[in-house]
Symmetry: C2
DNA sequence: CGAAAGTGATTGCACGCGCAACTATAACAC
DNA sequence: GTGTTATAGTTGCGCGTGCAATCACTTTCG
């Protein structure tokens, strides 16, 4: 789990084409394509998925991710900080997002018994229901636009490669208190 | 150039592990890792690179990308719309970003002779100089955090895979008018 | 030619975000 | 126990963004 597979030895195999010298951008074409591809793919996918989810269920992508993390957590509850760490969002951003989700009835805040400073965000029944509906849409979208483009083996490779870039980001072990 | 290589035949090779049934998230672990990895890697990289570029040169990542596209365009100039399409930004967003860059003296707007509606954004000398300085920082950052994690062959694979997800996004042929 | 439709770019507006400051509570030192 | 430091979460503020409306100009059609 903690072995990120073989760290790549640069210039491992000979390039298929002629050795390309640094071009205008300072990155050679393959580097440019690999890097800019990441940016473009991320932008296009998140934009499409977010619009889809918001149109059909009134739940933007970022909210969906919060609900999803919450759903998978023990007791369907998590501390605010843990939630913020599990999601690509600052503390203040999460506070405001949870405000909206609470206003919409998808979750509630609950005090923590052993630490009066802390709050839990707890998924409501309605939250569970709305999430289940949204999940179908989202999963179909992710599969159609992204996952379906790869074989299972390739997905494994991708996951391994992400681990190289961001070591230790794979374990989303959300530690929820047994309050 | 227009052949995105073999479209993947799903379930191409046998999965290495036991066939994993749908888990809590509806995605099996490999799918989850491949998808969430993309999200996390993008977030972490853009955040780090943006901060680095802004701290050292006062040029946020999105501005850098605009300047870069402009730099590579013939005549170091491009139409606003073409520029917006080349960058992950809406038309209005680009208008405002170009406002800031013009205020900072990195580029200027120029009228288009054959279409009075259109404007060109043209890189200034200072823009070229500031970009050159920022480029060193940015390239080093991208290489260190991303490219160095892969062999050249792997980068080719990555580029090919992006092409599968976003067909036709690889050619950034910016058509600048010869005004 | 003159009206209508189309296109390039900008602006009004509201929203979501992060940073930094702040409140409240907890943990620790002496 | 009291003072100090650390931590959890929220709020004030400014900024960057997209959408929709708008302006200016061009193209098309009667």
């Amino acid at each position: 789990m903690a072995t990120p597979t073989t760290p790549p030895t640069n210039e491992g195999a000979g390039p298929p084409g002629p050795a390309v010298t640094d071009h205008g951008a300072g990155l050679n074409p393959r580097e440019l394509a690999a890097w800019r591809g990441l940016l473009r793919v991320h932008a296009a996918l998140t934009k499409a998925l977010d619009a889809e989810l918001d149109d059909e269920h009134g739940i933007p992508l970022i909210s969906y991710e919060v609900l999803m993390v919450l759903h998978d957590a023990p007791g369907r509850r998590m501390r605010m900080s843990d939630l913020a760490d599990s999601v690509i969002l600052s503390r203040s951003g999460l506070t405001r997002l949870v405000d909206r989700l609470e206003r919409d009835g998808l979750l509630v805040r609950a005090a923590c018994c052993d630490d009066a400073r802390g709050s839990f965000a707890v998924l409501t029944e309605e939250g569970v229901a709305r999430l289940a509906a949204a999940r179908r849409t989202h999963l179909a979208g992710v599969r159609e636009r992204f996952l379906s483009r790869f074989t299972p083996d390739e997905l494994d490779v991708l996951a391994l490669w992400w681990e190289r870039v961001l070591p230790g980001a794979g374990d989303a072990t959300a530690h929820a208190g047994e309050c």
